[in-house]
Amino acid sequence: MLISEIHYPASVNDALALLDEQPETILLAGGTEIAGAQVSRFLQFPQSIACIAKIPELKKTTRTEQFMEFGSCTSLTGLLSLGPGILPHPLAQAIQSIGNPTIRNIATLGGNLASRRQFMDLWPFLVCMDAQVEIRNRTNSHWANLFYLADSSSKPFFPEKSILTRVRIPLVEYSNVFYRKIGGQGFPHHESAVFVCMAEIQQNKIESFRLVFSGTRVFRLQEVELSLFAKKITNNSRELAFARQEYIREFSRSGFLKPAIFSSLVTDAFETLFGASM
């Protein structure tokens, strides 16, 4: 029975100093992932835990005309409480599909994005929305696209001795969104995955296109996304058909979940977003 050392850093700098001294320290905000994975009466934690739930800097919310910024310890309920019309609709829907209201009361945005075990439900959404994350370590801080938190083998990645402090979400309302969750409700497991496809279409032209499928790994083809930029949606569009086939082919090579499921998802997504042209 391991007894852990619990720390309560009062600020981000304190937390970073602790991480520097004890790199094995785990940061705990809501704790749903770590506690939800254990069934014994006594929770087993790593040797050192830093409880960051109450650090004020990590709970701030700011808004400009172009984006919203949330502290990483903002609870999912806190995000939803902003109300309709403020949070982009697909994001609000995605948050509501996570757990239940009680889980969302303690689960945090940062916890959802920075899981080392697998990509959680909000991750593909925010990647599609080109969200950015602020990663701070002792010496510097930088903003990066959320996709940065996936390594070269498409698995979750987080830099050592660093903290995810803020998340910046562009306030772009995507009119065409296709979203499906695989693996049922309940705590994400190795067969859970989320498929998100978003397209901004203006005057029958694709202004932007994103498709991300993530679970224990992530699947995304940025070249295909770029290839669809400014393409017109016409009947029997070759570009769309090619893009779809490319996705299906590359996915079967990736070895990530069953190709049949992905194939159906992609087909459904394209039909939903681009209609009869498929």
């Binding site: 029975m1 939800g36 994975a37 254990q38 069934v39 014994s40 009466r41 006594f42 239940n100 499906r180 695989i182 049922g184 409700q185 309940g186 705590f187 497991h189 069953k258 049949a260 499921i261 159906s264 998802l265 459904d268």
Partner: protein, 696 residues
């Protein structure tokens, strides 16, 4: 020596504490089968103690109780997780930790997980029924090619009881007091008496809140109570055993799995001429109710369809997994499901609707069936069928979904729908093969202040049962329900009350209460208060097993139910979502309609869980399978529409298990229609659906 006062609630064992109480955690085997093993005693912190079978033997205790159920493994390990001993101490967390780290050396053998083929040494119970001519001569007009065979499986299932398995044993002066939640408190007492070699009069069973039991708390609580009692005796202090939910999931009994092969011979119209059935139920390492399970499964296979020649070979087979037993309806669920699925298959072959095939084969009043069973009452099949078809707009929907499916059978896009129905029944004829298992008693006291106190040793598992009994008293004695109290007594007398299984127990108690109240009514204005009337009865089944099948009168006291389920399947994920459940019920006199409806709905949700959620694989249960366990959240429960049919019958009949008799078959039929193929088993998870689709 009543444990409770009127108005008081039964305690919840998880919260119960007594002074100087110790906790016990179970040392468990980590292998499924070993012919030899030894547990290493290790140094434990001060205040902690390891209890092994040899300690019990030294103290003069027995290591087995009724029906040969072993308290702990002694020479052979029969399943992974089998109890080997206990660690007792003041901190439950440390006890858990210590029990996990106990070193055990095994001489491991290859476990027997297979159960559809088996040597006779693994047969725990068997039943052979031969009705009609045993030489299967092909009737006129039917060729051998018209034999149809289907094989169906029901998976194992875990019901999440209101509380994990637990017991508290404490010596109060000269009596050993056991707190536990059991459907059969008398069994707890007799088991402890056998193990501790203590007279039953020195053992007091104080009931705690049972919550929802669904037949899974008949004998297993006795095992836990024996563990606690042994530990309390050896440590000379109160001992509580409280499984964690994860532990309960992995090591408490689950529903038995079954494999049923049905071969039938029928004419062109689908009229059954001969049935040949092989039923195998996997009961895990052991199950003291194996015979009862088999009886009920076979009875449900004989069912309500007339067939002149029936041959059934039924086996309860042991395997090296946790004990597997009954859940809803004591084993009947297996037979109801398989028979209905087979008839659905026949309907497809004959190009008729399942309802037509059932109507053709349905038994009717005046018939003699299943050997020598007189059908002395009307079977309300067509009445219920008609009602349901109107409620659910069945014909139109069924035809539409058939057309859509047939138009493009290979297409699996978007959402696909299916709708199907089933018809079933519930009788009070629970076969329990020892007379004392069928005995109930009740004491009704009319106090001076005109309050009524009903006392019974029978386990009360739901508030709905209490409400029904109160209503019965209120109607007979014209007293307000708030002045009527129901108390579950501690087991201390020689009344030997049987288990509360199926709805049978609830309605047996209701009959006794009626009888007692009528007796009170006669005395009420002639004798001074308080007045007490005691009643007892033995519920003997109205039908008996004979060499040629069954004999007696059946279905007089049966309640009937038709169910239609409409569902949709997500073609991408295989996720099944039930949309609506319609139920039409003929259950005689309904004592309390809102309570009856509420009870049926709650049980319908439980029956639906059986179909929707993942098959529990007893061979590989562990904490990760507990965490991955699917649940049916409140916001995914479909609409459940219930209608009670008008009935001429004046007696009140059990209804609680009717959903288990009909929902699995209706669900299966609807899913089969949606997928366009017959599923081999329930439950059918999204995985199973996708796998079956991909295979075709």
């Amino acid at each position: 020596m009543s444990s409770m006062k009127p108005g008081e609630q039964l305690p919840i064992l998880t919260l119960l504490e007594v002074r100087d109480m110790l906790f016990a955690s179970t040392i468990r085997s980590t292998v499924a089968y070993a012919k030899e093993f030894s547990v290493q005693r290790s140094q434990l912190p001060f205040g902690y103690r390891m209890i092994l079978p040899e300690d019990m033997v030294k103290d003069g205790m027995s290591l087995e109780f009724s029906d040969g159920i072993p308290l702990f493994a002694t020479d052979t390990i029969r399943y992974r997780g089998e109890p080997l001993g206990l660690i007792v101490g003041p901190d439950p967390v440390l006890c858990d930790n210590l029990s996990l780290n106990v070193k055990v050396a095994y001489r491991e053998s290859e476990p027997n997980f297979s159960w559809t083929t088996f040597p006779s040494s693994r047969i725990a119970a068997r039943k052979r029924i031969r009705i009609g001519k045993t030489e299967v001569s092909t009737p006129k007009g039917i060729s051998d090619q018209q034999w149809e065979t289907t094989t169906h499986w029901t998976g194992s299932f875990d019901h999440e009881y209101s509380e994990p398995s637990s017991a508290l044993a404490v010596w109060e002066y000269d009596k050993l007091v056991i707190y536990c939640a059991s459907q059969w408190p008398n069994h707890v007492r007799s088991s402890i008496s056998e193990v501790l070699k203590v007279p039953q009069k020195d053992i007091l069973i104080r009931p705690t809140d049972l919550g929802q039991s669904i037949e899974g708390r008949i004998w297993f609580p006795s095992l836990i109570a024996c563990h606690a009692a042994c530990a309390a005796r050896l440590c000379n202090k109160p001992v509580k055993i409280l499984y964690t939910r994860g532990e309960d999931y992995c090591f408490a009994p689950k529903q038995a799995r079954s494999c049923i092969s049905i071969s039938s011979l029928s004419d062109q119209q689908g009229r059954l001429a001969s049935l040949d059935i092989r039923l195998v139920i996997n009961i895990g390492a052991y199950n003291p109710l194996a015979e009862e399970l088999l009886d009920h499964a076979v009875l449900s296979l004989l069912g309500i369809y007339a067939c002149p020649v029936v041959s059934i070979d039924a086996f309860a087979v042991q395997s090296n997994v946790i004990p597997l037993g009954a859940l809803g309806n004591l084993g009947s669920i297996h037979g109801f499901f398989a028979l209905d699925a087979h008839l659905n298959h026949l309907a497809r072959k004959c190009q008729k609707s399942p309802a037509e095939i059932k109507a053709i084969n349905m038994i009717a009043k005046g018939m003699t069936v299943h050997g020598d069973v007189q059908v002395s009452s009307v079977i309300p099949f067509s009445k219920i069928q008609q009602k349901l078809e109107i409620m659910a707009d069945f014909q139109r929907k069924h035809a539409s979904y058939e057309v859509i499916r047939k138009r493009d059978p290979a297409s699996r896009k978007g959402i696909i729908r299916g709708i199907a129905g089933s018809f079933g029944y519930l009788t009070g004829d629970a076969f329990l093969n020892i007379p004392e298992k069928n005995r109930y008693s009740v004491e009704v006291q009319l106090e001076k202040d005109l309050t009524i106190v009903i006392k019974t040793e029978a386990a009360i598992s739901s508030e709905n049962a209490r409400l029904m009994w109160k209503k019965t008293v209120s109607e007979i004695l014209s007293l307000p329900e708030r002045s009527i109290h129901v108390i579950q007594e501690s087991v201390h007398s020689n009344s030997r009350c049987g288990p509360m299984v199926v709805s049978r127990g609830v309605f047996a108690i209701n009959k006794l209460i009626e009888r007692s109240c009528r007796a009170l009514q006669k005395k009420r204005f002639r004798e001074t208060l308080p007045l007490t009337v005691k009643s007892q009865m033995q519920c003997n089944p109205s039908i008996q097993w004979t060499e040629d099948g069954l004999s007696g009168k059946a279905f007089d006291a049966a309640s009937w139910c038709g169910t239609i389920i409409e569902l949709e399947v997500d073609a991408i994920t295989g996720q099944v979502k039930p949309l609506t459940i319609w139920m039409a019920v003929d259950a005689g006199r309904i004592i309390n309609k809102p309570v009856a409806e509420s009870s049926l709905r709650a049980q319908a949700v439980n029956a639906l869980r059986l179909c929707l959620l993942d098959d529990v694989v007893p061979e590989t249960l562990d904490s990760s399978s507990y965490l991955a366990k699917k649940r049916l959240p409140f916001n995914e429960i479909p609409d459940i529409v219930i209608e009670f049919m008008d009935s001429d019958r004046t007696s009140a009949l059990g209804i609680g298990e009717l959903p288990f008799a009909t929902i699995p078959s209706a669900y299966y039929g609807a899913l089969s229609q949606a997928l366009g193929l017959n599923l081999p088993s329930i439950p059918a998870s999204p995985h199973d659906v996708m796998r079956i689709w991909e295979a075709t």
